[in-house]
Symmetry: D2
């Protein structure tokens, strides 16, 4: 473990999402997920969840099609950021500096092996709630909105990748992410999925098999609520608002998180998530599922719809 | 049991509430409890909860002070209404007919022994959701609002009475309500509380001891949510909106309902409630608590604040 | 409505279950569902759930094959029992009197149109908890067992029937059961399912289409837990004990109950259930689903496995 | 931050508890908290919770009085253990090596400034479930027991200390624990409570004010369940088993954890806990409550009983 640059990534940070229908996408996040608009700048809308300590976390960008703009990590310190940038450049994965955006950044932007855009940053702007949004207990960041699903924060990101193993190794080697679960392909060598984390959380960054020839696509962003009961309730929030429930509520076999999937009006798949284990053992090894064992779906989670592992954004099925 | 006019009251129905601050009271019910405004008529606002099959259930009336206007029961049939009116008149408790209000009624209005105004009615108007409020599952009455506590319907009413026993007997004898629990006063004869129901529900109508010389006062109206987890969540909804939590979330010893008490801005005490037992035995006798046994608070409910059993509306403490 | 013998059936009562593996079946109900053995008599074991006010509710009987022995209703009074017996005999559906069993009964036994055995009774023996099983709050019947799913009581019964409509009309006409939902067959005339109740509960007795040539079969018995969160937890209780989860946890479209299905080791399908609406309107009409509308599964419930609507006990697939 | 020995303590580890009534104390942990006995050795019983990855976590030791034996931390690596031992010795806080106990250890044992015994260790023995205790999903460590509260693992430890600040600084300076909340004494200088963690969890180690002249006492050990709904359910598990509920279920202001307190039959206070925030910001500063602000109990938690902040074990009140 000695070479592992442990704990230099603190947590998933601000992230951007393209949508062909920004008005309805923003309405989905505001009215149904309970997020607040912090700022609007041209076709970009900056949103925050009530549990975000940073001023904003999600940037919705009007575009010709759906898909991720970028995903980011906040580093544990300014020095950690410098070291990781240095590491990328030494490893032959150079990126570029991008100026701060609405008080957060500057960012160092680069690509993972599948071509997804990632950013690293340390400088951020903490949210200060205006008087009418101060929570009763002052250790909270913002009053509980009580609107729709009222998601607390981003929980994890799931990206499609043509070579899951390469992406996993990129983050393990270069950034010290730990991997908690891996699913092998039928060939017993390749990997169809990997769940990784910068902390004791069971998953922050997931890669799953890209089954088309596309690259850099998003499977889903997942936002956290505080109980499984809330996930169940949110199924009514979404279904009764006319949003089709794609899958769930049920529990995933991997990491055992409770899920509910819908697609926001722009087409990006969004999960309402609760749970998933915390991994305390400092010397835990990833659990490696064989193809057959994983397909057997031990436990009690429901079957996923047939295109669940195919559809991503940008949609290339057309 | 042969003389008991069983099952002629179907359920608690539409009810009216006075408030000195109707704008803020309505905002409490709409923004924090998740009810919808159906109509406004002068100082009266008609509200409904998403689980109401009738068009409206709560009438908020601007007034010089807080308190109940009237509580009502819907009868099981038009004939049952006639029989109950006849019964009242024969028993020397005559009332008067009141015209229909926004499609519900006519009502027969009378007083219980403590002077609270009650109404009986059968004719009602069913709610038909407009297209944008239709629920995904058509057996629901209205789409889940996902706003604030999103209460489903009125659960029960608690009225203060100088003579609890007299009120209890009035409803048992005249209307076939069944009593599930009684608390005796320290004298072993009088009663400090009684929980009554027209159905298998553990409580619809509660009387508790009036400790002032006033009469006809409201202790609280209770609105239902679907789980204890929602009651906990609603404590954040209310506290973070600046509403003081008077008591709870915790569980009552009597009927074992889970509770959360606040006062709406006009001063009326409102409960968010979940649970309480269903009583299936057709021959169940009420459980009679001695003063000492009830004071011992068996089980795990929290202590109630000292003025919980004193404050009611209209407030006579001044 | 005037001829309807309303409210003469109080609730589903004691019920019997055949099993070819009584030891493991009893262990399932005791260890995993949290029921208690009250008595053993030859191959029969008498069990109770902690929320039963009667001394026992389930009789497990060793037999050559799985299936229902009988289902029963407790009537609202001794006179109601006499009237219903009289009604059966006048309607040309005579049964026979069966002596009391372990303090409950005598019973009047007869068959529904599909040949399921039913019993009516009024006399019963109330459970008196021994000192070590007394609950903290004395209005409870028994201390919370805290073992496995810890089911509270029987919630509903689902029987397969070749002619659902005939069964439904038998109970409506002869016993005043109310029907809350009906699903039509593709022919628009026949019925594939009906949900009926003797009270405000959304379902007590369900008939669903028998798709084999057998008759008198059980689809499932459902036992109640107090929250959806408990149903989720119980999926772990059962799956981790090696019981295959057949379906759920998820929510049914009809009556909106939250479910989890397993088969007890003898083969009978058992549901852990929570929820389903209460129907307060005294004049509610059943909701009639067209074949197409019901197949579309509005809302968010998961798909059921293909043999869910075929398998019943006795199993005739062999 | 550069000198802070960050992340060298991985998590709270095995811990020991003295009891004057070991048989009943063990029965409490097994029957009511759902733990399993792993081994018995003289008056010591080794117990594990189903979510423990190590073979055992709690050692119950028959003794003349209740109280903590020791609390421990597992380090992130063998080298981290060496460095922390070195650090203690350099800082003038030397301890001693203690041999391994049932496969876990060796331990380096020392005292915090209040005299509580702590241990550090890295070597451990992972639990391998026997076939009948393997969970359905193989990433779990043990099948869900479904017995009593079925606690998942130790969540946090609360120790009484005469000088909270000194204890807090001992762990911050020497071990890199981070402090999330501090409550000031009325003098504005001293501290009455501090919540500390080795990870993103809101609390692992808590110090609260010792109000007697004793030292080295335990306020409580807290064990985790997976939802607030489970905490509510566990109040019935405990109360119905005759265990007095000392406080809760309710939510703490500090760290916002949901709690239920009882005392095991030997007298040690035990919490069933759920929740408390996760702290993702790498640069978060502790929230410092003034005496007045904390006393005002913002939010909705219930009042704690008067001796809640006085009683600890060993009990010195006599």
């Amino acid at each position: 473990m000695s070479d592992r640059p442990a704990h230099e990534l603190a947590h998933l940070g601000v992230h951007g999402l393209h949508t062909p229908d920004p008005a309805r996408t923003v309405a989905y996040f505001v009215d149904l997920l309970g997020m607040d608009v912090v700022a609007v700048d041209g076709t970009a809308t900056y949103l925050r969840a009530f549990g975000d300590y940073e001023e904003w976390s999600l940037k919705v960008i009007g575009s010709d099609r759906a898909g991720p703009e970028w995903v980011s990590w906040r580093t544990t310190s300014a020095e950690a950021l410098e070291r990781r940038v240095c590491g990328l450049e030494l490893a032959g994965h150079p990126g570029r500096w991008v100026p701060a955006d609405r008080g957060i950044g500057p960012f160092y932007e680069f690509h993972d092996p599948d071509g997804h855009v990632f950013r690293l940053y340390y400088d951020t702007r903490r949210y200060v709630a205006p008087p009418d949004k101060r929570p009763a207990v002052p250790t909270g960041f913002q009053a509980y909105p009580g609107r729709g699903a009222a998601v607390r924060r981003l929980d994890h990101v799931n990206l499609l990748a043509r070579d899951v193993r390469a992406c996993r190794e990129f983050w393990e080697t270069g950034f010290g992410l730990r991997t908690w679960e891996i699913v092998r392909l039928a060939d017993g060598v390749g990997e169809s999925a990997a769940w990784m984390s910068s902390s004791i959380q069971g998953h922050e960054l997931i890669y799953t098999q890209e089954r088309t020839s596309a690259n850099g696509r998003l499977h889903h962003f997942a936002y956290l609520v505080d109980s499984r009961e809330e996930v169940l309730r949110d199924a009514d929030v979404l279904a009764d608002a006319g949003i089709r429930v794609e899958a769930g509520p049920s529990r995933h076999t991997a990491v055992q998180g409770f899920y509910l999937y819908t697609r926001e009006p722009g087409g990006n798949r969004i999960e309402i998530a609760n749970g998933g284990y915390l991994m305390f053992a400092p010397d835990a090894e990833p659990y490696v599922w064989s193809y057959e064992e994983y397909r057997a779906k031990p436990g009690w989670g429901a079957a996923l719809p047939s295109d669940f592992h195919i559809y991503g954004t940008p949609d290339v099925e057309g």
